[in-house]
Every structure is written in C-alpha cells, then in structure tokens.
Amino acid sequence: MTKTMTDVVCPFCGTLCDDLEVVVSDDGKQLKEVYNACVIGTEKFLHSQTKDRITRPRLKQPDGSWKEVSYDEAVEYTAQMLANAKKPLMYGWSSTNCEAQSVGHEIAEMAGACVDNTAAVCHGPTVIALQDIGLPSCTLGEIKNRADRILFWGCNPAHAHPRHMSRYSIYPRGFFTGKGQKSRKMIVVDPRVTDTAKLADVHLQVEQGRDYELLNAFRVALNNEWLPDVVAGIPAAKIREAADLCKNGRFGIIFFGMGVTQTLSKNHNIDEAIALTKHLNEFTKFSIMPMRGHYNVTGSGEVLGWQFGFPYSVDLTRGFARYNPGDTSSIDLLARGEVDAMFTIASDPGAHFPISCVKHIAKIPSVCIDPHQTPTSGVSKLHVPVAFVGVEVGGNAYRMDNVPIDMRKVVDPPAGMLTDEEFLTKVRDRLKQLKGKA
C-alpha cells in the first residue's frame, strides 16, 4: 500500500513550488513517485532514496582515505575547530531551513565567525543594488493576476526555473489576465538565443558585458533624449520601441538572473535595472524581481537580516556585526587568506568558488555538512551527512519573492541520521561548554 501526500513543497529552486504530490510507502520509509514537479525537482526527491547514500560522518585520514566516525565525534571536531579558530568562515545555508540557520547564527556569534550564504556567488550584487537604490517588487501572484509586460533579463527560466513561466509569469490566467499568455508581451534580453528567448515577442541580443549601457539607453529613451545609433549592439530605434512597449503596458515586471548579476558591472547592472523600473513607474506600474537560485537562499538572507541587520557576508568576529562585500564576503576572505577554518553547510563552494579559494579551504581545518557527496565534501577534513530538508524534515523556507512557506517532511531519513538543526544544536551546546558559557 502507498499513501499520497499533497501540498508538498519542492526543495530545489527559488520558485519553491508548493503543489507537489508525493507517493510514499505505507510505513513512511520509502518515496515512490513525485507528481507535478519539474525534472530537477523530481530528481531531488528521488535522489534521497539512493542505496549508496552516506549515512554517517566521515573523517579524512592522513593517507587521504575516509574513516567513519560517530555524530558525537563529528560534533567534537566541529566545536573544537570553531573554538580554536581566530576567524572561521561559516558558509552556505541556502539549502537548509530557517530553523537550522538560526542555530547556526548562535554558533557564529559565539565563535566570532563570518557568516555568508550563496548570495556571495549569485544575487549578492542584487542585494548591493537594493541597498543603493531600493527595489520596487511584488509577490509572484501579482504577476499572475496583473502583469501584461514580462521581461526576462539575463535569465533562462526554461532551464533554471522550469515551472516559473507556467505557474506565475507567462501562461497562467489570473484575475485581470484571463487570456493567459495572450494577455502578455514577453521581452527577453540575452546575448544567447536561449529556449526562453525563443518564446519571446521581442528578443534583444545584447552585446556581452553591455547590459548596463542598454539599461541606461532604455532610460534615455524614456526621457526622449538623444541616443547613439547603436547601443550594446542594438539599434537605437529598436531600443525606443522596446521602451515604448514597457511604458504602454498596465503592469510590467523585470525578472533577472545571473546573466546580469555575475557579468561585468554586476551590482550596477541591477542598480540601473531598478532605476529603470522606478522610472517606468512614472508612466505605469512596474516591478522587478531577482530569480533566486537555491530554494532557501532568500530565507538565509531574511534570518541574517532580522538577527544581524545584514543579509549576507556578515562578519561577527569582533563581537558585533559588520558587512561590506569586498571585505566580509566569502570569496574575498578565502582568496585573501583571511580565514583559518572553513565550515560549509547546505551548499557547494568547492564546485562554485574560484580555484584559489578552494585551495585555501584545502589548507585549513574544514567541515562540510551536506546530505550529498560534493566537491566541497571531498576537499573538507570532515563530512557530516544529514537528512534532506524538504524531504526528510520540514521547516521554513522563503520563496524568491520572500513569501515564507512551510516545507513538509514526506519520508523518514535513514535510521540514526541527524538533521541539520539537530547536528548544529549539538555543536552549539558543545561550543557553549568550550567557551565556558554553559
């Protein structure tokens, strides 16, 4: 016999779809099938069921081999590492729940650590731009119900956020958008002819690294000022046409991704895109939203925000919180050799950081907490496998539009495995003892 669980939340991307149905065995131990999810989301659920999963912590031996250790030994190693470091970095947090993040921040405060999440390599520049000029935005339901102008700028939801267009942005029939896709004009700005671009009414094939100039040209066009004949590889007339198309809508939205956050100009691209959004509000209603990647990177920013006032790259070493990407950001800390211990959780810097950073991780004491074997677990001294959040344990997560959604547990983790929150709580309590605070 099996049972079907509804309203299950997908722990993959920032779209945080919450309409999944999951079939599990009657004893709640096996996950059989996943409905409504995209291919990636389905795999995320099914991956938890693999037979060769690592279920106990492993400590790297001098000869490079791994030795299985108990969770208690792993707790001791982690707490000692944090207690002895002058400047530990606690990085990741984007694929776990807010409850675990919160315990992690207590540890970081006690250890005098730097805390950072994966915004450091994706939407950190968006945060910087938000801090410089704000962010007129909305929830995804507003797009579904009202939006008739959709811009995808430097993002490719057809591949990275597979259900975004069907659930929220292009196809759904909302309250004021009863004709669905026919109610909407779709503009894609991308140097490549992506699968998303192929669906667009207008595709502006911007020259690589010139998004800032193109965004600026949109604003110049809104002001009816002089423009050079071609900007960023696009003829001025086409830019003016696209600007008019935005202006003449009733409710528009710019979605943007790593194509603009992580290319030349970074935060400035977003800054000017936000300025364009604000500018368009002089003519009509316009919003802008980052396409956040990890399903709970937004949550990490929120919890850091209310506990310390800064959403990523937070330096707690001196007993108070400081923030300045370029100084307190993970890549800079590692590349400059500023930190002497590395704690990674729920992310994979080994796969995403520059090689100079990964080399530094290999040199210093390190712990990686992750259900998977990853390049980061490979380079770390201790690997602590944990239960899958959103599959084997619930907890809170925040969608790309900051809407909080309660994740659901659908199956039990393998016997004896701890969750992120349980493991961190043990580390916290041990660190309290080491610091004489228990």
Partner: protein, 570 residues
C-alpha cells in the same frame, strides 16, 4: 516562581485611580497580588523616591515582518557604528531606526515597555512576522493583519455582506494568528496595484466598485459583529499630504452611530493611528500648517474613538507602510531609495528613508502637530503616545517625547533650536501651549489607555491584584523638582522592569530574557460554507500558494501562543 514586594514607591495606576501615592506592589507567580498576601520570602525592592507604573504598551509600531526586514536589509548604513556587543544575557544588537529583533526586545524592555503590537501584518507573510517575533525577546507581542485592501473583504462589502465579511475576518485571524483588524489606506493600496490611489473616502477603488468609506463602515460592522477585543485600527486615506485633515475628519465621522459590542471593556469602534500624519492644513508645502485643533475638537467629543499620536522625533529614520502609493510619492519628493512590495489579493508596502531635519520648517511643524494632539487631549485614556515607529522616529525616542509632553521648557528650547522657528510657531499652536502632562496622564496614555483600547485591560496596563505582573520602577522622584533631561534619562533606563513576574531589567540593563508570548485572537463563528467555498476558489485561481500551505503560515511557529477567545457563534 519568585515573589517580590516593591516598597514605598510613588505609584501611578489609572486602573485604581492611584496618582502618585506611596504604595507597595506585590508580585507572585507572574501576577500582581495584594501586598498582604505576599510571604516573608519575597524579595524586597526599595522604590522609595521612585516612580512605579505598570509595564507600558506599544499600540502601533512596525517591528516585525517582511517590510521591517526589507528595511533592515536595505539600510546597512543604519547599522554603521551602532552595534552593541554580546553580553551574558543579550545577543549582539544593532541598528538605529530599524533595530535587529534582539535589540527591539531589549530596548523596549529597558524603557519599561512590556507588550507591543506589530501594526501591519500582510497575511501571506504572517509566518515571517511570527518568526521575527519569536526572535524578539522579553516582550509579549501581537500583530494586526491588514484587511483594508483585501479582495474578499471588498467583494463581500460591495454586496453589504457583513456576516460573510466577519466570518472571513475570523478565519484570517485564525490562519495568521493575528490580533486585530487593520486597515491601511483602504482601497488606495489596491488602486496602487495599477499605480493609482484613493485620496478621499469617496474615491472609488478601480474595478472593485466600492469606496473607502464603504470598506471602513463595513469593517466596523464586521468587527462589532464578532465582538473582537480591539476595534478596527485604521491608517486613513491621504496620509502625509497638506490639507489632508478633511479626509481625516471624513474618516472619523464614519464612526458616528456605532457603539462598541464586546466583553472586553472596550468602548471605541475606531482607533485612528499616527494621527499626526493626518492633521495637516494648507494646500502646498509652502503654506503647510497644523490642524491638530480641528482633529482634537472632534476626537475629544467622540467617545467611541481612540487615537495615537505618531510623534516626529527629529531624527534620520526609515518610513515604511502598507500605504504603497504614499511611499512612491515620498521617493519622488526626497529621491531616496525606494522599496515596494505588492502582495497578491491583500496589500502592498513601501519603504523610503527620511530625515526629519530641524532645519526644515515642515519637519518642525510636524514635530509640533504630534505634541499638540497629546496636549489637546481631554481624555488621556483615548489618546496614546506613539512614534509610528520607525515612520516618525524610532521607538527608542519615547523618553524624549515624554519629556517634551511633560515640560514646556523642553518644548520651548526645541522651538528655539529650529532653524526657522518663526515659521514653525506661526503655522502651529505649540508655542502658546503651556500644558504639562502629569505622570498620571503618561500612565494613561502609555498603559491603561492602550490596554483598554486593545481589549486587554484585565491583563495589562494596571497594577490591580490579579493582573499580569508587568511592573516598572523608574528612578524619578515626582516629589522633587527635576530638569527636563532627568525625565528623559529616567524613562530611557528603568531601574527595575518585571515582565509576567520575572525581573527582566535592572538598572537599565537586561538581566533575563523572560518568557515572551504571542497574543492572538481566536474568534469562533458559525460554520459558513459559502465563505469557505470562496476561500477555496480564490486559492485555486488567484493565489500563488496552496490553501493548505497558507493556512499553515501561522501554525507551530508561534512562540508561546496566548489566544484570546471570542465567541461569535450566537
């Protein structure tokens, strides 16, 4: 639990009419008891020459939730050089106009505030609000979900369906673990979905074919149908514009003829919030002037209305409100960074930093208007002190506002310090007002009054035996002459603060994190299949989350929930 006896203090307790007489206050098991019932084991607190009051109640502040946190996140400069390090009893704490959650709890407690209400909870984000309240130590908190631009409410009220509106409100209060019915710029924020606004109570809401006046009256009726502890809590239309006092009077007049129906001792049917922002005359910023008198003439007569002030504190701060169109208007004026969040089917919010500069006459006039409202109040049980934190200034400035209200000299000194003091004087009444509020007035405006208005006078706001032991001792001797700055100093750092019988602050420092609770209202209504069908349909068609995940928003995340039960099934 410990027992305490606070001896020989000057007690100010409007619930018992005690006006500074010496009395002993006894505490046992979290409650106030008769001083004769305390045992010999009780710890004695010597309050000789000191002021003793109940814990203060914040009736309107933006302290938890999505827009507050967006404000924190987007203003790193608000934290710069403000941080307090970790101590034995406190987490590290920082921020000026939008402090971290920990700092919020500590700072309220240090001033003797023991209960606070988050003034605008977007229902879709209620889980976020509760997560932040969990991390706000010491103080009890509740949150007001916003209803004034809600599609269900507007559709029901278009057809005058009060019972359905009430059933929906009760369902939403339960789903979000909310405390009261809040309206922000009714209709105007929905209009903002299209970049528009409703500037008067008769401006029709685009598409929904209803006016703000109809929304306001309908929600008064639904609120009284349910008999909720608090009345509707309204931020009216046309906030912040010269000449808006007429819109405010039009809004206030909608209360006429309604009488409060509830078992909580509440008498008002409408609470009008941050009234300072709604008491403006003139028709441009050049001839901007105070209309505090016109507003208070009405409020003083209308016994079924309460207000709070929204005092400008003359600081650099961060404005944030569910009045989306107002924040857009403000960023067009001051060109500072603008954040906005429109929330599907429910509301919107905007955020813009603002500097209330003593060199700008408009800011001076706003400062005067806030004070005039309190000084003109004939019934301090119906006029409460707020700064609409952080909109008119951070809540940490309450001691300064109290100083200005209690000391004419402090006000005159500030008037003199304005760059354009003659402009401020000629556009306001403040210079000629010599009323100085008493400590008893302050106890009414910050304790007994808000408790009654919120419908929680049996728990909070007084020192009667049986009430929660929220007790504050200020190092301030009412028998001795004092300089104005001593008032501010005493109210900034209470000598002792007890929350539910636990001493949480001693000599202005946090000594215990208490046992914070979340207050919410559980209103039971008759089964209403139509409303439940409507809810189901809207979730399938228009919301971006499923109904099951929405209803989960407020559950099992709420710290120490304390439900106030309301039976509206009859």
């Amino acid at each position: 639990m410990s027992e305490y006896i606070i001896k020989n203090g000057h007690v100010f307790d409007p619930t018992q009419g005690i006006k500074g007489d010496k009395a002993d206050i006894a505490i046992k098991d979290g409650k106030i008891i008769k001083d004769s019932e305390v045992s010999s084991k009780a710890k004695v607190i010597d309050a000789k020459g000191k002021t003793v009051m109940a814990g203060a109640i914040e009736i309107h502040a933006h302290i938890a939730g999505p827009k507050v946190n967006l404000g924190r996140i987007y203003r790193p400069e608000d934290k710069l050089f403000t941080y307090q390090s970790t101590t034995a009893n406190t987490r590290m704490a920082g921020g000026f106009s939008i402090p971290t959650t920990f700092k919020t709890g500590y700072e309220y407690a240090k001033m003797g505030y023991t209960t606070a209400m988050e003034a605008a909870m977007p229902p879709l984000f209620s889980r976020h609000v509760h997560e932040e309240m969990r991390d706000t130590p010491i103080i009890d908190e509740g949150a007001y979900p916003v209803f004034g631009n809600n599609w269900f409410v507007m559709e029901y009220l278009k057809n005058k369906e009060i019972e359905n509106t009430a059933a929906y409100c009760a369902w939403l209060l339960r789903a979000t673990k909310g405390f009261a019915i809040k309206l922000v710029n009714p209709g105007g924020t929905e209009a903002w979905g299209w970049g528009l606004n409703c500037l008067s109570v008769d401006d029709p809401v685009p598409y929904f074919d209803i006016t703000p006046a109809e929304i306001i009256k309908g929600l008064i009726e639904a609120n009284e149908y349910l008999g909720l502890p608090h009345s509707i809590h309204i931020h009216p239309n046309n906030l912040g514009n010269p000449g808006n006092y007429t819109t405010t009077l039009d809004t206030l007049k909608l209360s006429a003829g309604y009488k409060a129906k509830n078992k909580f001792g509440r008498e008002q049917v409408m609470h009008l919030t941050h009234t300072q922002f709604h008491s403006y005359g003139g028709d441009t910023w050049a001839n901007f002037e105070s209309k505090a008198k016109e507003i208070m003439d009405f409020v003083n007569k209308a016994k079924n209305v309460t207000i709070d002030t929204g005092n400008v504190t003359l600081d650099e701060t961060t404005t944030m409100t569910a009045d989306g169109p107002f924040e857009h208007h403000l960023t067009e004026l001051n060109h500072l960074k603008w954040a906005n969040v429109d929330v599907e089917l429910e509301t919107a919010a905007g955020i813009v930093p603002y500097i209330y500069s003593p060199s700008i006459s408009v800011c001076g006039i706003q400062w005067a208007i806030g004070l005039e409202l309190a000084l003109m109040a004939k019934d301090p049980m119906r006029c409460f002190i707020t700064t609409d934190h952080p909109n008119a200034g951070p809540f940490t400035r309450y001691p300064r506002v109290i100083k200005w209200l209690m000391s004419n000299k402090a006000r005159q000194d500030q008037i003199k310090a304005f760059k354009n003091s003659d402009k401020v004087v000629s556009a306001t009444n403040i210079a000629g007002m010599d009323r100085e509020l008493s400590l008893y007035d302050i106890a009414q405006m910050t304790r007994a009054g808000p408790a009654k208005s919120l419908g929680i006078p049996s728990m909070f706001g007084g020192l009667k035996p049986g009430m929660d032991a929220d007790v504050v001792v200020y190092d301030f001797n009412p028998d001795k002459p004092s300089a104005p700055d001593q008032i501010e100093a005493a109210f900034s750092r209470a000598a002792h603060v007890f929350k539910s019988g636990i001493e949480v602050v001693t000599n202005g420092e946090v000594v215990n994190n208490g046992h914070k609770r979340t207050l919410w209202v559980n209103a039971k209504t008759k089964e209403n299949p139509q409303v439940m069908r409507d809810v189901q349909e809207k979730f399938i068609k228009y919301y971006s989350v499923t109904q099951a995940n929405y209803e989960a928003l407020g559950h099992h995340i709420v710290p120490n929930p304390y439900a106030i039960e309301v039976d509206a099934t009859q």
